[in-house]
């Protein structure tokens, strides 16, 4: 009897021990949960402290509407003047894609993204290009029925025009997109506006002072809507950057540095060969060479000149016209710097020793004494080291590219206390804003995140889930045509930019400092 009792007792204590052993992980889980919550709160606290100290709690990202925006207005009939590479990209943003490109995107899985783009309710009804092959591409693209907003196709037929004048004379076209080589931009824009068309023109606006004044006066004295092709400022981070400048987060900005580094033949405008190294197609039979040259001095046709026109001053301003234009616009949209008082530019042909005239290394400095600020542009076509676009403030600097990051200045006056207390850390960016994460402000606390932000390597960029900024830029143009208002890159901005570019180009060519005479409105 007693033995049985003992056995029972032992069994009970054994099972209790078993239970305790089986539940050994529970206290560990409890401890984990406790510590994890502490960690989460700690991080959240640190993050919100940085944002709070900067007074950016209410800086929320403007949400991008990607779906249909309801009322679309009447169908807008658009014509393309110039249908090369850039025009194809612009077509995508407008909602039209060549069947070959559709196929390519189907294969790499990016087609769905494009099909979700807002349908702008436009028809591509006119294509004008001096080259048959390019015009054909445009016609096929316009007719393709695979489009955002359902495979409805477009209701109107598309027509090819042999000259831009014919296209402009057609009353059935409401608006034109100009994507020709630069030497045609200004005069076609002027003629288009006179013909009553709204104009979206690729940069740069003009090559010379005379061209610039002519196009400025014409557009300004008309009621047509003009947009210059500076899509990058449509990135949500630019709107955030604007707010950051407005709230004086950076302190006094005396220097803005803009740069370009590239290190490929294509980046240096050598583009007459295909990916296999064979010459691209095109000859005088299929290209209206005289129309291509326009008012420029006669030169015999070569595929080199046709595809690589950027290399000669007859057709554009090299890096100033192709690349600095974007930089100037980016800075001007944020700081409204306007026309510089003086400009100096120098450089040379140091790497690409072909038949080019434009320099492959170039520096330009623009002075704004009234604004107590200098803008620099430094470009190099023989190095791919990225130098970014930096707003150097006394209290913090901001690097602004596809994403935005702000680094507190070690010797900042305004942030002295926060730096001493360790809330701000000047060893790396303290705030970053990425367009893909919705553009919300994020304080950077971990070392890895700092590392990535410093290099602009962000999840969202790598993911390739970027919004097509060109689409937003074209959409703005179309919205203004339908509902009124102002485009970002309107003729006033285009003029300021045009003057700055022509000044730099003049300075480079004449090897001297040039100034802007604000009274006579002339470059001297």
């Amino acid at each position: 009897m007693a033995q049985e009792e003992m056995a029972k007792k032992e069994k009970r204590s054994l099972s209790r021990r078993t239970l305790l052993k089986a539940l050994a992980g529970i206290p560990v889980m409890g401890f984990f949960t406790f510590e994890a919550f502490r960690k989460i709160n700690f991080d959240r606290d640190k993050r919100s402290r940085v944002i709070k100290e900067l007074g950016l709690e209410d800086l929320k990202a403007p949400r991008i509407v990607t779906g249909s925006s309801g009322k679309k207005g009447d169908l807008l009939r658009i014509g393309f003047i110039g249908y090369g590479n850039r025009a194809q990209q612009l077509s995508h943003s407008l909602g039209f894609m060549h069947p070959d490109e559709v196929q390519r995107r189907k294969q790499n899985g990016t087609l769905a993204e494009w099909l979700e783009q807002e349908d702008l309710n436009v028809a591509l009804t006119g294509i004008c290009d001096v080259y048959d092959l390019h015009a054909e591409k445009g016609l096929t693209t316009a007719k393709n029925e695979i489009r955002p907003g359902g495979n409805s196709g477009q209701s109107l037929p598309v027509k090819r025009y042999l000259s831009y004048q014919d296209l402009l004379n057609d009353k059935d076209i409401d608006a034109v997109i100009i994507a020709t080589p630069d030497h045609h931009h200004a005069h076609i824009t002027s003629e288009a506006v006179k013909a009553g068309k709204h104009v979206y023109c690729e940069k740069s606006i003009a090559r010379t002072e005379d061209e610039l004044y002519e196009v400025y006066d014409t557009v300004r004295n008309s009621d047509r809507v003009f947009q210059l092709g500076h899509q990058i400022t449509q990135n949500v981070v630019f709107q955030q950057a604007k707010e950051i400048i407005k709230r004086d987060i950076l302190g006094k900005i005396c220097l803005v540095e803009t740069t370009t580094n590239r290190n490929t033949a294509s980046g240096a405008w050598i583009r007459h060969l295909d990916s296999d190294g064979n010459p691209k197609p095109g000859d005088e039979k299929s290209i209206d060479w005289l129309q291509w040259l326009g008012s420029r001095p006669y030169k015999p046709f070569t595929t080199d000149r046709f595809y690589n026109w950027t290399k000669w001053f007859d057709y554009d301003m090299g890096m100033i016209g192709q690349l600095f234009t974007h930089e100037f616009d980016a800075v001007n949209q944020l700081l409204r710097i306007g026309i510089p008082e003086s400009a100096v530019a120098s450089g040379g042909i140091y790497y690409w020793k072909d038949n080019r005239e434009i320099p492959d290394v170039l520096h330009a400095t623009f002075e704004y004494p009234k604004k107590e600020m200098t803008l620099t542009y430094s470009a190099n076509l023989a190095s791919s080291r990225q130098r970014g676009r930096v707003f150097n403030g006394h209290d913090a600097s901001m690097e602004l590219g596809g994403s935005l990051s702000i680094t507190a200045d070690w010797d900042s006056t305004k942030y002295r206390e926060q730096l001493d207390r360790g809330i701000f850390d000047s060893s790396g960016p303290m705030i970053s804003i990425n367009p893909g994460s919705g553009g919300d402000v994020d304080a950077i606390t971990s070392a890895t995140a700092k590392y990535y932000a410093a290099r602009g390597l962000t999840t969202t960029n790598i993911n390739g889930r970027n919004v097509d900024v060109t689409h937003l830029h074209i959409k703005q143009w179309i919205d203004v045509i339908r509902n009124g208002g102002q485009t970002n890159a309107n003729i006033e901005r285009a003029f300021e930019e045009g003057v700055a570019c022509v000044m730099a180009n003049k300075s480079y060519l004449e090897k001297r400092r040039v100034e802007w005479d604000p009274i006579n409105r002339r470059i001297v």
């Binding site: 050994a24 992980g25 889980m29 890895t448 390597l457 999840t459 790598i462």
Partner: protein
């Protein structure tokens, strides 16, 4: 689980300690991914080199697949971590964890000639902490301690009683 009976207390204690430490680490890795807004494995996969780089590129290029991978990764880590700490389905958790960690390792092994953008916190040649953790999990799978210190004790009993009934 005949094997566990032959462990000494000390052997068993060290096994359980190892199991819980790895469980803790894996669970926090999973929780962190859950907490980082818009976290995606794309950044890690983009860095992928060696034999899995083609596969990783395919994952990144396909947003649907990437989403599935992200989801499975985060919740897989959390499930494995909880399993290891509680000693629940220990063997399954250990094998799944070892597999996952080995995939991580194969994506960026510290082999001669491979360099990565992401700075590493130590110095490695062929063998990295990830590989060691993967193998440690294999050890835990081979010497399961969950049926002694863990909820597996009840799981195995439940399974046993069920199979008995079926017999």
């Amino acid at each position: 689980m005949k094997g566990t009976k032959t462990f000494t207390t000390f052997q068993l204690t060290t096994l359980v300690l190892l199991r819980m430490l790895i469980g803790w680490h894996v669970l926090y890795e999973g929780i962190s991914k859950l907490l980082i807004p818009n976290w995606s494995s794309a950044m890690f996969l983009k860095e992928s080199q060696w034999i899995l780089s083609g596969f990783s590129d395919w994952i990144i290029s396909n947003s649907g697949v990437l989403q599935v991978v992200d989801f499975m990764n985060t919740w897989g880590l959390i499930a494995i971590g909880i399993g290891l700490i509680l000693g629940l389905f220990t063997r399954l958790a250990a094998i799944a964890g070892a597999t996952l960690l080995f995939i991580y390792y194969l994506n960026n092994p510290p082999l001669l000639g491979l360099t990565y953008n992401l700075p590493s916190e130590g110095n490695y040649l062929i063998v990295s902490k990830t590989l060691i953790e993967a193998v440690a999990l294999l050890v835990l799978a081979v010497f399961p301690s969950g049926s002694e210190f863990g909820l597996d004790r009840y799981v195995s009993r439940f399974v046993k009683s069920k199979t008995k009934k079926e017999e």
